[in-house]
Amino acid sequence: MPEAVHHHHPALAHHFDDLAQQKEAATLGMWVFLATEVLFFGGLFLVYSVYRAWYAGAFAVASHELDVTLGTINTAVLITSSLTMALAVHAAQLGQRRLVILFLVATMALGAVFLGIKGVEYYHKFVEHHVPGPSFAFEPHEYARHAQIFFSLYFIMTGLHALHMVIGLGIMTWMLWWAWRGTITAEYYSPIEVSGLYWHFVDIVWIFLFPLLYLIGRHA
């Protein structure tokens, strides 16, 4: 048995013909997972749509309480992290180990900045009593009940997104280790590619969250 697989690439699993087939399977597997993620977040976007249609006035007023400047900065930060992620994959395809490491670190740093800014925003919401629960307070008072629904959705959706970011940082730490120890080569870069798909997906979720949460009350 060891003789039979001796000429194979060390990263090639025995049930695949070659690395190209293995990469295709890995990519497809990640996309199937992402399809379930689309429906997972989709359920929340659906709930948002129904409540927003019902309580459009309260949602606009509550949305106005969010910090558009921080939200916009975070959108730019996340888009930039997607660029560095794409460049990390590109470097991996060319077997440029140092560049892979550099772009992965940049991606992680931008992800950490995003979470830091999100933390500042959450802190403001706690101070302003805009966190749903017994201490929730909102002016004007007639909107309070429905504004609480908006903020519940805000925390659930951005919280779940932030959790995905934390998991993404974990995956990138793992990829950084693999790139560091030389597992990632021009022949075998699919782990970086597939991790990148996950990272870009999380970016896409934010691309929808940002206008729907931050921008609906701007003209009110």
Partner: protein, 97 residues
């Protein structure tokens, strides 16, 4: 096909368009366009997501099987949204606001 290497110029261009779209969506939101505000925001978001999927996520260069999975995820999402909203948004006896 699996060895397709996209020139970095493409990534920088897409990045520029995404940033421009972010600026546009923030600027448009300030004007009161009625229901067009939401439509404009969603059109820009869909455009941005499509660019990310096609170029950053390499779907433009991927197999037909990958295309099928990507399109079916959007299709299923469409079924979920359309069927549920066709119920909730047509309950005319309900007081909106």
């Amino acid at each position: 096909m699996s060895e397709h290497i996209v020139p970095t110029r493409v990534y920088y261009t897409i990045f520029g368009i995404l940033m421009l779209c972010t600026y546009l969506t923030v600027q448009i939101a300030v004007f009161d366009l009625g229901p067009l505000n939401t439509i404009a925001a969603l059109v820009i978001a869909v455009l941005k997501a499509t660019l990310v999927v096609l170029f950053f996520m390499h779907v433009k260069y991927s197999t037909r099987l990958t295309w099928a999975v990507v399109l079916s995820s959007v299709f299923w999402l469409g079924i979920m949204l359309a069927l549920t909203l066709s119920d909730y948004l047509t309950r005319s006896w309900r007081t909106f606001g």
